[in-house]
Each structure stands twice: as C-alpha cells, then as structure tokens.
C-alpha cells in the first residue's frame, strides 16, 4: 500500500511494532505522568493497584478489543465506521459526536502539550538547576504569559500538522516508533537515578505500601474506574482509527486490547517509580498531582540531587513526547474521518483540522481557567459520551457476538470467548452511564455540570441533525445496515 492515503487506496501500518507504538503513544499522555502516581499513592497504594488492575482487565481490555475490531471491520474512520454499522441516516451522527469530542479535547490539550514543550526546552537550557531559580514564581509567570502559551500552542499544532500531512506510515508511524521507546527509556533512567538516592524508600512506600482498608471504600473504586477508562482512552475513537489502518492478517485482541491496556498503564507505574523516590528523597518537598507535581515539586527537587540537570532533561523530554504523541493521534481521528467523508485530500484536511483546533484552542491557551473548565466538562461528560456512542453501537446495534466472530477472532493472537459479549453489551455501557450520572450528581448545579449537560444534549442533536440532512435521503447502501440482530 502507498504511504500517502488517497481516496482509492487506504494506508496501512508499515509494521506490527508501528501499530503497537501508535496505540501506546496515543494512550500514554499527561495523566500517566502527573496524575496516576499521585492518585495511586493517595488511594491506598498497593490496594489501588489491585482495584485498578481488576477494572483494567474487566473493562478496558475487552473495550479496547471491541473498538480496534470495529475500526478493522469497517476499514474506516469514526463516521464511516458508524455508517457501516447503522446504515445511512441520522444515527451516523453518533460518529459526529465522537469527532466533536475529539476536536474539543484537542483544543485544550494542545496548550498542555505546549506547557511540556516549554519545560522541556528549559530543561535543555539547565534553567531549573541554575542559581536563584524558584519553581513556583517561574510557573506562575509562565501561566500568566498568555502570548507565550498561545505561541507554544501554535508551534504544537503546526508540528502536528507537519507530521500528519506525511500520512500514517511516513508521518505518524515514523514518529511513534522512536518517541514511545524514548519516553520509556527516559523514565527508566530517571527511576534508576531516583531509586539509588538516599531516602528513595519513602517514595516507594508511599506508592506501593498497601492500605487494605481502601479496597472497602467506594471512592477508591470510582477513582480506579476513572483511571482505567480515561487513561486507556477507551471509546474516544482513537483505537478505532488506529485499528482501521491494520493490515489484512493483523491481530486485534492481543496487541490492540491486552498489550495496549496493560502496556500503557505500565508507563504510569514506571512514572510512579521514577517520580516518587526522587520527590521523597528531598526533605520538605510534598508529593502532588498535575502541574503542582511536574512544574513545582519535581522542579524543586532537581537542583538538590546529583545529576539533577540531566534527570530534568530526561523527565521533561519524556513528558513532552508522551503528550505530543497523544496529541498527534487525537488529531488523526478527525483527519482520517474527514478526509474520507469530504472531497478534500489528506493535506487539505490536515490543514483544515489543525487550523480549526488551533482557533478553538486559543481561549484555553489564553486562560488556564478556561482550560480547566473544559477539561472538567469534557473529561467527565464529553469523553464518556463518546465511549457510550462507540461501545453502545457495538453492543446494541452491531452486536458483540457478530463483531467477535467477524473481526476480533479473525487472525487473532489469542482466542476471545463468549464471556466477552456481555461485557461489551451490558457491563461497559452500564459503567459509563453510572460515571456520567455520578459526576452529574457529585457536581450538581455547578457551571461545570451545566456545561456537561449541554454537551450531553447538544452534541448528539448536532450530530443527528447534520447527518440526517447530509445523507438522510441518500438511501441504504447494500450490506451497510446490520441492526436487528441480538446476542
């Protein structure tokens, strides 16, 4: 197959390793680095790991298998995949919902990638280990400089566009096969440095000490549930898009499900091993999450440890690669489906999508408060809506048994049995509905909850109306409509 997709010849991954690294690169993002370690340590340590692992195996692994398999079954991006299952008409608008959520997600994620780029550049300049450097004022000054963040947001979207126009094999694959191993290697070296510091054992005890009582708390399980579902990017259209570029004889369940879910979570575990021994080795520094961990706690630590400047470079370059590869694949979701659905070629679509995301991302780049608001709204309601759309269509229209027989177990590296069907049909959709309802109840009446309800109601209406108009009168293509079967 050609490297550059055209309207007649679809691109494919050049190698199995390329596909696997694309999956890991997409799913490993900021959350693995600056959220997972703290959440783990603060929710019972080893007890949280057990809860997280259980939910990962029960929900994320089967869910990712389903999403990748749908992409391979349809050989299309999100909108085309929905059409292949529900037939032409308004319900294809559920694919538009997934598309809109991805564009919204990337609009506020791009400035975050810009933050990590800024810190990576400063680590290379050894700013953090220079005399008189103060972490908190440095971070506050940076966040207050809207123009600087907008410039970084522009660089990030420009770089993503430059890579995506090259296509799947020459663009995305060529980056991820180096970026993901480099990220892992940087964290491994950082972990070795941290574990050899005096006092590192305190950090290990914080992260891996078992507080069994946490397993009896609902908060632990809800946090683990959110981590298992959101960290793996289940149902966001990314796995579907990546899976749509699989080659004829490629496996789905072993690489797209098991390896992706466990492998991407392993990076979070590695981040815990890399970060907490270092943080706890320095007296007076508190473990934290988010920007407070990456941009304050860790930055305070680097000058205090031997070879701190080098460790800072490893950490921030790895952190940047994690966020950048995620941004690349999140944007690819829109590029793939819009280049299939419109008359524009890949280059035109890439420029259009990246330009639109850049424009929509300006408010988030301008104000951290806007970014936080959008992150909360889309993290709690937008992304679960996308997951419900994809898994719901697989579970209730396509039928899990049919997808398992026709796509999951075809060329599979492991056999997936009947146990999978009820997980896809009942368990994952129920859990997602529970999450949406729980977050709504927990934030009842807040501006975030109102924003979330707006997304839940308006996005499906937009998608349905748009696709009803665009293709509602186009008739049913033969063999496209598969609804009516039940498992």
């Amino acid at each position: 197959m050609g490297d550059v997709p055209t309207k007649t010849a679809r691109a494919e991954w050049g190698s199995r390793f390329g596909f696997l690294m694309a999956m890991i690169g997409a799913m490993v993002g900021a959350g693995n680095i600056w959220r997972f370690p703290y959440v783990m340590g603060n929710n019972g340590g080893g007890a949280f790991v057990l809860a997280f692992l259980t939910l990962l195996v029960v929900l994320a692994v089967p869910g990712l298998m389903a999403e990748v398999a749908l992409g391979r079954y349809a050989n299309k991006g999100v909108i085309g995949a929905f059409r292949a299952v529900v037939g032409r008409g308004g319900l294809v608008g559920l694919g538009v919902v997934v598309l809109l959520v991805n564009i919204a997600l990337m609009s506020y994620y791009s400035p975050v990638v810009g933050w990590t780029l800024y810190y990576a550049v400063h680590s290379l300049l050894f700013t953090f280990t220079s005399s008189g450097f103060q972490a908190e004022p440095f971070m506050n000054e940076f966040f207050a400089s809207s123009l600087l963040v907008i410039a970084l947001h522009t660089i990030v979207m420009g770089s993503i566009a430059a890579i995506l126009v090259l296509g799947i094999r020459r663009g995305v694959e060529r980056i991820v096969v180096y970026a993901v191993p480099a990220l892992v290697l940087s964290l491994v070296v950082m972990a070795i440095r941290g574990l050899t510091l005096p006092g590192a054992s305190e950090g290990l005890a914080f992260a891996f000490g078992i507080q069994w009582e946490y397993l009896a708390r609902s908060d632990t399980w809800i946090t683990a549930l959110g981590q298992a579902l959101f960290s793996t990017g289940l149902g966001w259209g990314i796995a579907l898009t990546v899976g749509s570029y699989l080659r004829e004889y490629d496996d789905v369940p072993l690489g797209g499900g098991l390896f992706t879910a466990i492998g991407e979570s392993s990076v979070g575990i590695l981040a815990a091993l890399a970060i907490f021994p270092i943080v706890f080795a320095v007296e007076g520094v508190e473990p934290d999450a988010g920007a407070g961990l990456a941009f304050v706690s860790l930055v305070q630590v680097f000058p205090e440890i031997p070879l701190g400047g080098i460790v800072a470079i490893l950490f921030f370059l790895g952190f940047f690669l994690a966020t950048f590869t995620s941004g690349l694949l999140i944007t690819e979701v829109s590029v793939t489906t819009l280049s299939e659905e419109t008359r524009f070629d890949r280059t035109q679509t890439t420029l259009g999508v990246c330009g639109a995301i850049w424009l929509l991302g300006l408010p988030s780049a301008y104000s951290v408060d806007i970014l936080d608001y959008l992150d909360f709204v889309f993290g709690n309601w937008g992304l679960p809506l996308a997951t419900i759309s994809i898994i719901g269509v697989i579970g209730w229209v396509m039928g899990p048994q049919r997808l398992r027989l026709l796509s999951v177990n075809r060329n599979a590296g492991i056999h997936v049995g009947r146990w999978w069907d009820p997980v896809i049909k009942y368990v994952i959709p129920s859990v997602m509905v529970f999450i949406v309802a729980y977050f709504a109840y927990d934030n009842f009446g807040t501006p975030e909850m109102i924003g979330g309800m707006f997304v839940l109601v308006v996005f499906p209406i937009i998608g349905y109306a748009l696709m009803s108009v665009l293709e509602g009168r186009g008739g049913q293509p033969e063999g496209a409509e598969v609804s009516g079967g039940d498992d």
């Binding site: 199995r16 696997l20 000490g209 072993l254 575990i269 027989l405 177990n409 075809r410 060329n411 079967g485």
Partner: protein, 106 residues
Amino acid sequence: MAALTPEVLGMLAFTLLAFYGVAGWALVRTLRQESRKVEILRHQDRMETYSPAALAELRDWIETNPDDPLVDRARRQHNECVTVLRQTDNHFYDWSDAEIDRLERV
C-alpha cells in the same frame, strides 16, 4: 531503608510482574506471531484467518443465524478460510490434517 517492609517489596514485585510481565509477554508474543506470519507469507500468497476454535464458532453461528444481515459476510470469511487451509501447506494456527479434511464450506 526502614520504609521498605516485606509487604511493600511484595507489592512492588507483584505490580512489576502484573504490568511489565503481562505487557512484555504480550509484546513478545505478538511480535513473534508477526514474524511467523511474514515467514508463512514468504512461501505462499495467502494464509488461514481463523483458529480451529474460532472457525467452529463462526460455523455454528452461520448455521443458527441463516437470516442474519451479516451472514453472507460471515459465510464468505468462513469459506475463504476453508479454501486457504486446503490449498496451503503452512498454517499459522494449530490445524491438524484430520481437522482440515473434516472441514466443509457453508
């Protein structure tokens, strides 16, 4: 190193095994399978697409769902696999000659 109790070390070992052990196993297995598929396709144009268990399940489903909208696609995939198994010598899955002889198109 006072904080490193046996419980902490045990949990650390379990975590490394559960995550890195499983991810490493899956990575090695899938890359080896890929090499094997490439090797098979070097000697022949096509390769079977289903394991014995998966093909049997597909066949059962076709027979019990003759009116399903996707039955034609399922039948095509089933028959393609049967044809390839009969026409090729190197197989990716663990097919015995007796199993292949018993196969019928649907």
